[in-house]
């Protein structure tokens, strides 16, 4: 089935990724670990833009950028150069942003997503490095603000801006693209996506081949999907009413779920780019082969391997490889129990319970799920009880064994013995006949069989009593 894209929707995304796993900022030695600290405590003359300070490139940031470029199948430029993007804003301490302009570090890449009608290639235009500005904080509401405070802790953090071609045909595809991007970045271990502001999205969208509209201020993936849904609807309605779409920048109002025209001449902004004279051009292409060699296994490759190695369904493979933490968790578990059981328990059951509670995989210990899977496969608890144990751990904590005991979930032990007794009777008609014929000792043989079946967990005297009862009932 081919997706027709009836409205001719074209979506391109610009994603800013903050490389918060770097220890220091892009151009100075300030620590990046500011998220729990007081404002303006992770600053120095360089990231405050004090007169006379000069930038020095963080070589590790360059390495991270190349890593990202390679993971997105980009070409790495021979030599990169930073430019100044000049504009005035209080969060911008130098009055310009140091960024890459005509020599982005990486370009011409691709990301493969699960599209509306199967696999779809989203082309990456470029990925370039730049510095993050500070943050404004309004005292009171934005309308009735008594003033604005500026926190420069974020100033000078390394950003990678990843720009896609307008290859997405629906908000759903946009969402998939964002999820995939996040997944790849997670695998690369270059950022912690859970920290505030780690990924920021600007979108551009057009319908029926018309002018494209930029949407700014999108703060989440869910927000991106909502903003796009609204904006496509707005554009379609506008065109239907005979209107014409003009090139403009719109602001996404998260609370109301609508986009609002900013009515500024954003498109006409003249940033007066020119090469940053304080930074020398950087030869980077020759570093790429080393970094390529050291690239970790990426989501697509890992999914392929899971399919082969663990013989799981495509759906499970996808679910288990999207997040690197989940994939690692799964492989940990699959090493200890049957991988197919592990796939069902981790991909379907555990992830479902975690999602419901908006928790990540870190909220659960691999050894606990191993215990639960063992209990279930050994028939000591039912599958339903296994789920109950997971829920209890997530909601109240505790160890699986204790929970099983406390809740009396092991009651099924009786059933196991009863089942084993029935089986032993059916499978050993001779011994049974002998016993019923008066050979008391033949009963010991049957007890032994039951003990074997229950792996010695059953109480021998209990087994004997049950056998006697069952046989008497039978006869």
């Amino acid at each position: 089935m081919v997706y027709e894209n009836p409205d001719g929707v074209k979506i391109g995304l610009e994603v800013h990724v903050q490389l918060n796993k770097l220890k220091t900022k892009l151009f100075c030695g300030c620590s990046t670990d500011y998220h729990n600290d007081e404002p303006n405590t992770h600053v120095c003359p360089v990231c405050l833009g004090l007169p006379g300070s000069l930038p020095v490139i963080n070589e590790r940031a360059v390495e991270f950028a190349i890593r990202i470029g390679l993971a997105l199948s980009c070409e790495i430029v021979e030599q990169t150069q930073f430019h100044r993007k000049n504009y005035y804003y209080p969060d911008l301490p130098k009055g310009f942003q140091t960024t890459q302009y005509d020599y982005p570090i990486a370009s011409k890449g691709k990301v493969i997503i699960e599209g509306e009608d199967g696999e779809r290639v989203i082309r990456i235009t470029r990925a370039h490095m730049e510095e993050d500005p500070g943050r404004l904080q309004h005292i009171g509401t934005i309308e009735k603000s008594k003033g604005t405070l500026i926190n420069y802790n974020r100033s000078g953090m390394t950003l990678i801006e990843i720009v896609s071609e307008p290859d997405m045909r629906s908000p759903k595809e946009a969402r998939r693209y964002l999820d995939k991007l996040r997944s790849i970045l997670d695998y690369l271990d270059v950022f912690n996506g859970d920290l505030e502001g780690a990924m920021r999205v600007d979108a551009n969208v057009s319908v029926f081949g018309g002018e494209r509209v930029e949407i700014k201020n999108i703060s989440s993936f869910k927000g991106a999907e909502r903003a796009l849904l609204y904006e496509i609807m707005r554009q379609k309605n506008h065109v239907r009413r005979g209107g014409e779409i003009v090139m403009e920048t719109r602001h996404f109002d998260e609370a109301r779920g609508v986009t609002i025209s900013m009515r500024t001449k954003e498109a006409e902004h003249d940033y007066r780019y020119f090469p940053e004279p304080d930074l020398v051009p950087l030869r980077v292409a020759e570093r790429a082969p080393e970094i390529q060699k050291a690239l970790p296994e990426l989501p697509d490759a890992r999914r392929e391997r899971f399919l082969r190695q663990y013989e799981m369904s495509n759906m499970h493979a996808r679910a288990l490889t999207n997040e690197i933490k989940v994939a690692d968790f799964y492989e940990d578990v699959a090493g200890k129990v049957n991988p197919k059981d592990a796939a069902v328990w981790v991909a379907d059951i555990l992830r479902g319970e975690l999602n419901y509670r908006d928790l990540g995989i870190d909220a659960f210990a691999a050894k606990d799920i191993v215990t639960i899977i063992e209990l279930v496969t050994e028939n000591r608890i039912t599958e339903q009880s296994g789920v109950e144990v997971i829920r209890t751990i997530l909601d109240h904590g505790g160890k699986p064994q204790d929970i099983v005991k406390d809740k009396g979930l092991l009651k099924v032990e009786d059933d196991i013995v009863a089942k084993a007794v029935k089986e032993a009777i059916a499978e050993n008609p001779e011994a049974v006949t002998d016993y019923l014929g008066g050979k008391e000792k033949s009963l010991n043989f049957v007890v032994g069989k039951v003990m074997q079946k229950t792996k010695g967990r059953a109480d021998a005297r209990e087994v004997r009593e049950r056998l006697v009862k069952d046989l008497n009932d039978q006869s």
Binding site: P45, G52, V56, F274, D278
Partner: protein, 475 residues
């Protein structure tokens, strides 16, 4: 007559009395000065001198007083670029050269007057008013490091630091009859030098004799990881102090004796070249055909960079702040009230040159011309060891004579700016007088070949008496 004391003389005085007494005598002289060379003295100078006497600090410049241009950052000592907009700004960090000087035991006397943000050739555009030339107080001391040259000529400091973007060390050195060096681009860290035009400028020393220039270079030159454009290269400058120019090949660019050159200047310079011939050097005329385009190229590049560099002065974080109902109005008012006319002129012209539609015509073209000017130097310096010509086409002009005619002021830089475009080193040494005012001989060398121009300058000094003339005491 003003008394000039060189570094060896200072050391002798310290041995006879104390560093404290030496510093006190300079501070006393500065206190009585009427040339407006210092914009502020350092209240801790005596304390530092006392520490030297106590033996707490040793070093090659132990106890040597030094004056610092007001655009070089000094911890705890206000640094304003002689602009209203930086009133009250006290840097929380030292420029690289200041750290080096402190480590070497130098005693910082205070900050010297300059053209606002180093934009000028006369030191008349300072927020603190003009500095007077000690040789004739009706005349300018040159600029933009006018204060640094004038205080040395007036005996208010034995040595000083200036900065040279398009001649700002050499011009005032020539006008005030002292020695001034513009080192090779990358020779001295610019960390802490408040940028005017980053790709052109270098910090440079001023002194009464060539030996002191070498002594200062031995302290302040060298690699600094905080300045990406600083080069890692070991050199001993004092080793170049040899009275020997035998076999030295001198090129004399005919373009440096262009229209408007003062007859007295021309004669003094040719006499100097004749003297070199007597001393065993040879000379030939040489053509630098792109010299006539250098001024235009220089001003476009310098103004473009300046328009961006000065964007950070918006009243938000430090310095002067004007009133305003919101940030944009406040920032706009701050810049309107805080910058002087010449600074505004250059910001506007630079902004214009970088604007869309003009960028290629002006900024890019200027870069291309810069390459051609560099090639002129490469070609010329492959034929000869050094280039010689007048530092300035005229002796110091009258205060007020050119300040209302920016174009004629810009033209005065015609022989100095090509050197900054090419990044080569150049020294100005006294070589005679015209109209009773000092004339400077400019000696230009190959990249990182400071030692050859220092040797040439030193030899000239050893064999002539121009540097023995002193201005009269100004009262």
């Amino acid at each position: 007559m003003v008394t000039w004391t060189d570094i060896s003389g200072i050391k002798q005085k310290i041995a006879e009395s104390s560093a404290e007494e030496v510093t006190a005598s300079y501070l006393e002289k500065i206190g009585k000065s009427c040339i407006n060379g210092f914009v502020r003295t350092w209240d801790r100078a005596l304390e530092v001198a006392k520490a030297i006497d106590a033996g707490d600090q040793e070093g090659p410049l132990a106890g040597v007083p030094i004056a610092i241009k007001d655009n070089i950052s000094t911890t705890g000592l206000s640094t304003t670029c002689s602009s209203k907009i930086l009133q009250g700004y006290v840097p929380p960090y030292d420029a690289h050269v200041i750290g080096k000087l402190r480590d070497a035991g130098a005693v910082i006397l205070g900050k010297t007057n300059m053209d606002e943000f180093a934009m000028g050739t006369s030191t008349e555009s300072s927020y603190y008013g003009a500095t007077l030339n000690p040789w004739d107080t009706d005349r300018v001391p040159g600029g933009s490091s006018g204060g640094s040259a004038a205080v040395v000529a007036a005996g208010e400091a034995p040595v000083s630091l200036g900065s040279d973007t398009g001649g700002s060390v050499r011009c005032p050195a020539a006008f005030c009859g002292v020695v001034g060096l513009k080192p090779t681009y990358g020779c001295i860290s610019r960390y802490g030098l408040i940028s005017y035009a980053n790709s052109l400028e270098q910090i440079g020393p001023l002194a009464t004799c060539v030996a002191d220039i070498a002594a200062l270079m031995d302290v302040i030159a060298g690699h600094d990881h905080r300045d990406s454009t600083s080069i890692n290269r070991e050199n001993n400058y004092s080793e170049a102090l040899k009275d020997d120019v035998n076999g030295l090949k001198i090129g004399v660019p005919e373009e440096y004796f262009g229209e408007g050159i003062d007859e007295g200047v021309e004669k003094a310079v040719w006499d100097a070249i004749g003297k070199y011939e007597d001393m065993g050097a040879s000379w030939k005329k040489i053509s630098m055909p792109h010299t006539k385009y250098a001024l235009a190229s220089y001003y476009i590049i310098a103004m473009s960079e300046a328009s961006s560099n000065l964007a950070r002065f918006d009243g938000t974080r430090y310095g002067f702040r004007a009133d305003g109902d919101n940030w944009h109005v406040m920032a706009s008012n701050t810049r309107a009230e805080g910058f002087g006319d010449e600074v505004k002129r250059r910001i506007l012209l630079g902004t214009y040159a970088l604007s869309a539609g003009y960028h290629d015509r002006y900024y890019l073209k200027a870069l291309k011309v810069r390459t051609l000017v560099k090639q002129d130097f490469d070609r010329a310096l492959s034929e000869v060891d050094v280039l010689m010509g007048p530092t300035m086409p005229t002796p110091a002009f009258k205060i007020g004579e050119k300040i209302d005619d920016p174009l004629s002021l810009y033209l005065a830089d015609v022989n100095t700016v090509p050197v900054n475009l090419a990044g080569v080193p150049s020294i100005s040494v006294p070589c005679g007088f015209s109209e009773g005012m000092p004339v400077g001989l400019q000696i230009i060398g190959k990249h990182f070949d400071e030692n050859t121009i220092i040797r040439a300058a030193y030899s000239f000094e050893q064999n002539t008496a121009h540097h023995t003339r002193r201005p009269r005491e100004v009262v």
